[in-house]
Every structure is written in structure tokens, then in C-alpha cells.
Amino acid sequence: MLAGGTPILYMIFDGLIGNIASILDVLYLRLADRVEYAGVNAGSETFQPMPCLFDADRVIGGGVLAVLLPGACRTVVGHGYPVPERVMTATSTDGNRVQSIDWRPAFEVYREIIGEEYGIALTRENFYAYAVHFPFGILRAEDDVVVRIPVALADDGSLMCIGEVPEQAMLALLRAPPPDADRCIGRLAEALGGGRQALRGRDLLVFYCAGRRMHFGDAALDELGALQARTGAAAVGGALSLGEIGSTSAWGYPMFHNAALVCTPWQPA
């Protein structure tokens, strides 16, 4: 399919698996640089458990579909969400569940901040519709954030994310940016080929975060169009995803993201 180079371990997880970041940590310890890491999460935006992975023999839920692709082109991941101003502490977490923030029930604090800063009256009913615009971020020294979109509100006021939040992590409250505010698409295109029209004649496999799609609305299609135009890809194909896997730098540490695009140049065998 893709020729030469370090093979790509492409993983498609059931999006409801709560410890994907930890699984990636263990994989990187075991496999290190024998493979490149990329992948996405599958599932339903209702976030109800259901079989969502299949191969030639079966359809399963709660698992991972791992494919080893011969690699020639680097898979790139990016989201373009800026490092924010406000930091708070997730004082109690359990996997992908944020139970308390700054020693208070998580939803109470989240609702308060959204109300004070953006004038939005957050309720249980409109929670997900607004949460995609105001995700959490885990800060990194690379002047970057790993995005965590709260996707559900538990009865006890916990916020459920797709992807783990480290215990006692300092979280930033992000405001999702306007389209291409951080030259996200331009950066992805550069990383894919280093120059304009670098993928001319080749197809591009793109997974696009469903939460990002909700945030951008119709502008999401503009992003994909811009990506195709900048890379010169013959066709862009893919799907919406509920979480994205990859590194933001060449050969970098594999991470689990939200709100990102995962782009892999595709070359027929």
C-alpha cells in the first residue's frame, strides 16, 4: 500500500476505551522507534457502547484494530489550538473522567468559567454543543497543548472526556480558534511534503475530529479543501473521528489528541 521506510502502526480504537494514552505509552516503551504511530478512534457521537470495529471476520466493540502499513510518508497530526491564558487544576480524575476542578465539582467550575468569560449559560442539555468550543488542554513544553474535549456529563457532575486526563493534571481551558487561525492547514501541508503541491497525483487519507467539525461547522469543509489545494492531493478521503493518534513532530512521542486532523499520504500498491 505504502512503500519503504519505517512501517506505520495504524490503530483504530473503540472511542470508549478510557486509557488509550496509557496504552500508547506502553506501546512506545515496547516498540520504540520500530514503527511510526498513527491512528484514530471510532464509535458513535452518542457515546453509547456499540460494536464499531470490523475486519473480514467479525464486528467488535471495546477493542482496537491495528494495521501495520509499509511506510514511506510520514503521518502528520495537528490541531492549531492556541495555548490559552487560564489554567486550573483537575484535582480529582479517574482515567478519562474529570471529577473535580480546583477542589470543586468539575461541572460546577466549568459552567462558572464559561458563564463568566463567555456569557454562556451552560446546562446539561446544551453541554456537548458548547463543550466542543471550550475544551480542556494539557500543556506541553513544546508550546503546545493536547486537547481534551468533554463529551458527556455524568450524574455526579463529572466531565467525561475522550482520552485520559492525568491525575492532578493542570488543565488549561481552551477557546477553540476560528478557522485556520494558527495556520494549522498550512503547517500540516508543509509537514506532509515540505512544499506546495508536494502530494500532486497522490491521494490523502484524512481523519477529522468530530468535535472539531461541530466547532467549525461548514468551515470544516473549507479546511479540507484548503488542505487538498495546498498539498495538491488528487483526492482527500477519510472520516470523522472521535480521537486522533500521532506526534506533532517528526518521530516524536505518540500522543492521543482531540480536535485534530490525522493525515497520511496514500499510495496504491
Partner: protein
Amino acid sequence: MKREHILSLLYDLTLTIGGEVRLDALLTKVLQRLLFHTAFPAGVMLMTGGEAGSEAPGSATPGSEAPGRESPGRESPGRESPGSATPGSATPGQASSGRVILTASVGDHGLAASVGQPIDVPPSWLDGDSALIDDVGQAPWLRAGSRAYRHVLKLPVSPEGVILLLSPETPTSALPLTQVFRPVLRNLAKAIQLCRHSEQLTRRLISDRDQARSDLAAALQRSERERVFLRQLTDTFPDLVWLKDPEGVYLACNPPFERLYGAREADIVGRTDEDFVPKAMAQAFRANDLAALASEAPHVNEEWLTFASDGHRGLFETTKMPMRDTAGQVLGVLGIARDITQRRRDEEQLHLAASVFVHAREGIMITGADGTILQVNKAFTDITGYTRAEVVGRNPRMFRSGGRAPSSMPSSGGR
């Protein structure tokens, strides 16, 4: 924001450092978090210390060059080259050779295969402050790596060693990476020492535990052997043997005792004499038990016992004594009853025979097989005129020598 941003990184690393008690887990987790935060693809921990200065058997690094001559390096503002000397005192074990142990590796399977091996690095990589070192591709030990690294972020963890983050590409962070991690690296050095201490304690505890388990197993084996021996001894013993607790409740008994009460040991244990014999007899048994408990010496009595198993009756000499543990605490009363019915009959027969011997009107002389006189009765001494002392031990031929009364020679007998 940059201040809060940096604080959040330090907070994350501090939690990571404080959350581990095993050295390998601590180093691995810290390397993972550093790679997560910096986007460097690989990292290693090189440790100095006692074992690092001495060469491990068979672990020499072929082709290693003298320290400081591994690469010409490229100086750049705020950056070091691999060979640049940095003033500062050497930490223990590194000395001038720069020999250290590759203790942990994340992100490079080639370097991971060298974990535990001694390697040579330029002393400047071990000394001094954090630094970004460029053009490191010629460092011999790095050739074991599976990528061509060009940039190293040196993060000293004095005095334990140094963390090196490796990248083929120029790092792009807007944060001052050489400065950001300093505060937590000091804590990491302390955490390494604590982990070592904790592991030593754990090893000692495991060793003590294993020794205790081994001792216990040996003691149990000994105890089992002794138990089997005692069980077989009491089971094959013809006497009745039993053990009661201080309250008179049976703890154990042997098969002969089972026949006395006509019940199996399992049915006797946990019960008292009142469950098997009339109340008056049970009270007598209990009185003997209490007498034995009150006495330091064995308490002996004779009693007629009737066996429930077959109805036979016998005279028994019962010995009861208190049984104590090694601390002197009373465990109960051990009883042994020996059937003396036959012995008593024999004694009575002997008593009867002796009475006949003594009171007979005929003189009776008992001789041994060789004819030596063993005993004479009173009638003998009266008839012969000899005293018992004069004849015992002599031969009856003495009476042929014209003694005092040859006509009245006694009849003789053997035994």
C-alpha cells in the same frame, strides 16, 4: 501565561517524580513525561555512581574514543558542542573517563538494547548546567541508536547522572528547555536516592520474608514428622493414651482408648467423661485430673475399667501428668493407663506360693540349675540346724559330709 505554562509542566513532573518508589519505574516515567512535553523522540538516563566507574565484565565498548575527542562539534550561542570542557568538579564514578551506565532508555530500540551497559561520554555531557548540544552524530555510543541524532538536550541530575533527550531535528520549543526543568531535576536526584533506599529495604524485607518462609517450611516439616512419629507411637502403643484440656475436654486419644469408650477419636474429641461414663465415675476421673494438674509429679492410681467395645473389664494403673508448652503454660492433662490385670494375678500367685513355702512343715530347699542353694524355708533350718546364711550359695553336697542331721536331708527343688 508562560509562567503558568512552565509551572504546569513542573507540576506534572513533580507528581510523576513523587509517585514512584522503584528506580526503573521512576526513570522510565520521567523520561516518558519529558518526551511528551518536549516532543523529543528518545531519551536516556546515564548514571554515575560506584558501579559506573568500574568496567563491568565483558561490557567494554569497542571503538570507544578518549573523552572529548568524539566529535569536533559545532559551537552556537547558548549551546555546547560535545567536546567542549565545562569547568566543574567530577561527580563520583565519572572521573576523567566519563564512563557511566546507560540506566534507562525510551524511544530507541537500539539504545534500549544497551541498557545496563557502561558507556563513555564526554565529561562535559555530565558536568555543568543544562545545555542543548548540537552535532552529536559522531558519539560512538549513539551509533547503537536506531536514528541519526544531531541534537541532545542535556539535563544534569547531579550527583546521580544525567538525562539526555535525543532528536534528529532541531527542537522547536518556544520555552527555554535548558532552564525549565532545573527545579524538578534536583528533586529527581533525591527521588533516585530514595528509590534506591526503598529498593534496598524491599530487597532486605523480601530476603527476610523468604528466610522466614523457609524456616517455617522446615519447622512445619519437622513438626509434621514429629506429629506422624507421635501419632504412630501412640496408635501402636498398647496402653490407653489420651489428652484432655484443663477443663476436662478431650483433645486426643489413641485406638486402645477408643475401645474403652466404644467411640472413634473424632467423636471423643471435644467431649468430656460425663458423655461416656456414669456421673460418679466421671467425677472421680475429674478429681484425678485436677490432682494431676495441681501436682508437679505424675499422679498414679489404679482403677477397674470396663470396655464399651466388648464389655471386658480390667485393672489399670493410670498415670496422669500435666502437659505444658515451652513457656510453661498448662496445655492439659496427659493420661496413660496400663492394663495390670495379668500382672496383679501373677503377683497374687507368687504371693500364694511364697506363703506355702514359708509355712510348710517340710524343709524345702530351692537350688539353681547348677545345684547352688538359692533359698531354704524355716522348716529346713529347723530340721538341719543350719541357718539360712550358712546354706544359701553352697552345694547340697555339704550335707553328705556327716553333718548335723543326715537322716533328715530335706527334699530339693528347682525353679
